[in-house]
Every structure is written in structure tokens, then in C-alpha cells.
Symmetry: C2
Subunit: 239 residues, 2 copies
DNA sequence: GCAGCGGGGTGATGATCGTCACGATCACCG
DNA sequence: CGGTGATCGTGACGATCATCACCCCGCTGC
């Protein structure tokens, strides 16, 4: 079946084959049926802005496939990437529940499928369905948990190399692939974006990566990055 | 009525006079009745450890009165104060819901009253009571929101003075008292603790505060701190 | 071809801030 | 009243990193 952006699309949550793996979506047939009646499926190309920091909450997005970059910016124009959201995450839930402005901006960095639920519908869904409410609470707990990790990393790291090492280790755990040369990571972000993830500058990232290469901690081949000396990297992080 | 630690204690949520002001506790009589049956009221002196980072979740604490310091530490012993919790907040909810280790440590910094709910009881309370679940979701949203603010501040601030200025402005908004000399803040933390709140060292805090004084931005009299030049402080922060 | 652009590499320089070191105060207590 | 510990003040020094500046490379469009 031809579909836009080379994306395999599932318009119907009840028939979604990956539902069981998704923390939020893994709910009873009945609840998912209700979900199907209020959601709007959308396909977004890379670079779509789902919502912007400061905007009044219109509702929530459930990320079905693809990846979404969550960012926040200072008045000076400096940008921090708070998180790269993965499939299964619910975006904008806290702002929607509190009816306060979105606290981050969300932008797709790959072609993505998202299900949108309008604020009113979402609130009714939560109030009327204990299971949905519970799963939302879980989802929010997850988000708080990961925010907490971010705070630790930003606040307790002494040096920038520590933060970079930590980021690489995080990546190797999440999306790493074991090879004979160590874990391979696909680096899909530019140095600029990596810098925005750890709160530093593009130049510093470039320099640190060269430094890591020189010290044989990592190896870079195109967009592949190999973790050669994992223990050494682990020694650098104290958080 | 005499009570320990000079604390006015309310053993019964149903009769609590400040309940309506508390985001979480402001629930129907019925729900609060249920809450009363599962909670254990505790009084804690200053310095009590409620739970420790990494520990398996025993349950949640509802802060009735007093204040609680939430911290996280690096393996090197450096400590970051994530948040000072105020009455009405629920502590340990995300860890309890996910059944993952507490992500922060909680320590009272004043004599405090807290209601404890065991994990099993709390989960049953949520599943069986839509209102409680909804209020918990709200509470978690609040926590996520404030964590997000913290991330912004830590990740986007260029200089330490910016973070300190921001902290003072935050305080003046939350607990400030208008006087002819500008807003008065009661500083109840040591320089060491302030340093831990903004991720720097004690010496730097001391120096920055002296600097702010020299530049007539603030004035210090004992534990009172006056914000003399609020606009100047606001100009320093870009987050 | 070549201009334009996004991305990466690198050097020079200076400000910031962590670290170490030492003193000064003040409260509390035997 | 001297001792002890917590807190604050301050100087000296050096490492780290942001900033600016420039260059290189590969790609795209004309």
C-alpha cells in the first residue's frame, strides 16, 4: 500500500499490532475503542512543528512512529533539546491537563505518525475512563522521571566531556547495536544539535569528539559511532 | 493544645481547614474519607529523611505543613537541590506509580507534618477512585512542569550570576513581601545550600552576593534580603 | 562550471568559575 | 571562658569553555 513519507500507517488503534509494547496504548479493547473515536491520525514530514513553547494547549499528541525533538529556548535564542521522544510517548499531556502553556516546543525530526486528541476530548476521556487516567498518570511519571535524569545530568556534571560521555552511553543503551568493535550507534544529529542536548556549543562538541577519537575511546565512520572503550567513558561520568 | 515541634497538627483530612487551597487534597468529602482510612499522619523534626534516592518505593508522602528539600547526588558527593517542596505537594508519587527507585532524596528542613500512604494502598486508591487518579495526574503534571523550569534554568543559563538572579526573583515572587526598600525575602538557606540549588560552589555564591550588594542590586540585613533593583536583576536573566 | 549553504575542523584569546587556602564571626556548650 | 563547629569572606591560581575568526568539504541548483 502506498503511503506518504514511506511511513507504515495504522489508522486504527484497535488493530495496531505494536500496541501491546506501548506503555500508554496498552489498554483494554474497550478503552482503545473510545480512544479511536476521539483521536485524529496525522502524518507529518520531518521538521513539522507540532506545538510551540508558550502556546495555549490545544491537546495532546500520541507518537505512533517516528521521533520528535522537544526543545526550549532562552530569550537570547539559545536552544536546549530537552528530549528526543520515541514512539509510545504522549506529548503535551501536562500542559493540557493543567491548561497552562506548553512548556516545550515539539518538532518532528523524522517523518512521523501522531494521533492528536483535542483538549476537551482528552479531559473527558480521562475523567470518564479510569484506565486511561491511570495510564496517563504512568506516562506523566515516566516523563517526570526522565526530566529528573536530565536535571541530574545538567546540574551535577562538572565538565562538558562528562555530559558528552553520558550522552553517548545513554545512546548506546537505548539504540546501540553490539559489534566486534564495540557498540555501534547511529548518530542522526548534527554537532550543533548534540551541543544543544548537553548545553554547550558546536565547537566544543567537535573538539571533544576529536579528543575522544584521539584517545581511542570512540571511532567514527560516517554516521556510525563505535564505543571502543566503554569503561573509560563510564569512568568519566559521576552522575 | 500542646503538640510536638510547635506544629499545628490536623490528624483528620476531612476536617482540615486548608484542604480547599491544596491542589491535591481538594477532593470530594467521600474521596477524602477514603484517604483518611489509608493514610498515616506523621510529624517530623527538621532534618528527617523521608526517603533516599535509589531506595525501592515504599509509598507516597503528602506534605501538610513544613518544607521538604528534594536532592540528588553524584557519586562524587556533590549534591544538587532539585526543589524545595511546599505544603500540598505529593512526594514520591512517580516512583511509587512506576515501582521504580525514588529518583531523589527527601529531607525535611522544617518541622513538618506529612501523611504517608503505603504503595499498595495508594495504587488501590488510584485505581478505585477516578477523582484521586485525576488529582494525582494533575500533581504529576505540576511536578513535570516545575522540573521543566529547572531544566531550562540549568541548561540555558550562560553564567552563574544569571542563575542566582533567577533564583532570587523566583523567591521574591513566591515568598516575597513588599516593603519601601523593595521586596523582602527571608533567606532560610545557607550559602552552601544556595550553591547546591544552582549547581555551583559556596565561594561563588558568597562572591556573587557581595557583588550584587556592591552594585546596589540587593541589600542584606541578617536573614532578610531586599531586592533593590529588580529590573537590573531581570535584565541578567534570559531564561 | 561555480555560487551558496550546511556541516565540520581548528587556532587564539579571555572571562568565568572551581579549587585550595586561610581568616573572621558567631553560636553553642561543657 | 576557652573550645569547637558551622558559616561566611576573600585572595591566588589555573582549567575549562565560550567566542570569534577562518578554512575546508560535499552537496545542490542554476
Amino acid at each position: 500500500m502506498p503511503s506518504p513519507y514511506n511511513l507504515e500507517v495504522e489508522y486504527n488503534c484497535s488493530e495496531c499490532r505494536v500496541r501491546a509494547e506501548r506503555l500508554f496504548c496498552n489498554m483494554s479493547e474497550e478503552t482503545v475503542g473510545t480512544l479511536d473515536t476521539v483521536k485524529f491520525t496525522g502524518l507529518y514530514p520531518k521538521g513539522s512543528l507540532l506545538f510551540v513553547e508558550g502556546e495555549e494547549p490545544r491537546g495532546v499528541f500520541i507518537l505512533c512512529s517516528g521521533r520528535v525533538k522537544l526543545t526550549t529556548s532562552s530569550t537570547e535564542g539559545k536552544t536546549l533539546i530537552v528530549k528526543i521522544a520515541e514512539p509510545g510517548e504522549v506529548l503535551g499531556a501536562s500542559a493540557t491537563i493543567l491548561n497552562k502553556p506548553y512548556e516545550v516546543s515539539a518538532e518532528t525530526i523524522e517523518p512521523s505518525q501522531l494521533n492528536f486528541i483535542k483538549r476537551d476530548d482528552f479531559m473527558k476521556f480521562l475523567v470518564g475512563n479510569a484506565e486511561a487516567c491511570m495510564h496517563t498518570a504512568q506516562q506523566l511519571s515516566e516523563k517526570y522521571h526522565s526530566a529528573q535524569r536530565e536535571i541530574r545530568s545538567l546540574g551535577l556534571s562538572q565538565t562538558t566531556s562528562e555530559k558528552l560521555a553520558r550522552l553517548l552511553l545513554d545512546w548506546s543503551e537505548k539504540g546501540g547495536e553490539q559489534t566486534t568493535k564495540g557498540v555501534r550507534i547511529k548518530v542522526l544529529l548534527t554537532h550543533e544539535e548534540i551541543a544543544q542536548m548537553i548545553g554547550t556549543t558546536r565547537e566544543t562538541v567537535t573538539r571533544l569528539l576529536s579528543d575522544f577519537r584521539r584517545r581511542k575511546l570512540i571511532e567514527v565512520k560516517g554516521s556510525s559511532l563505535f564505543i571502543i572503550a566503554k569503561p573509560a567513558l563510564e569512568n568519566m561520568v559521576s552522575v
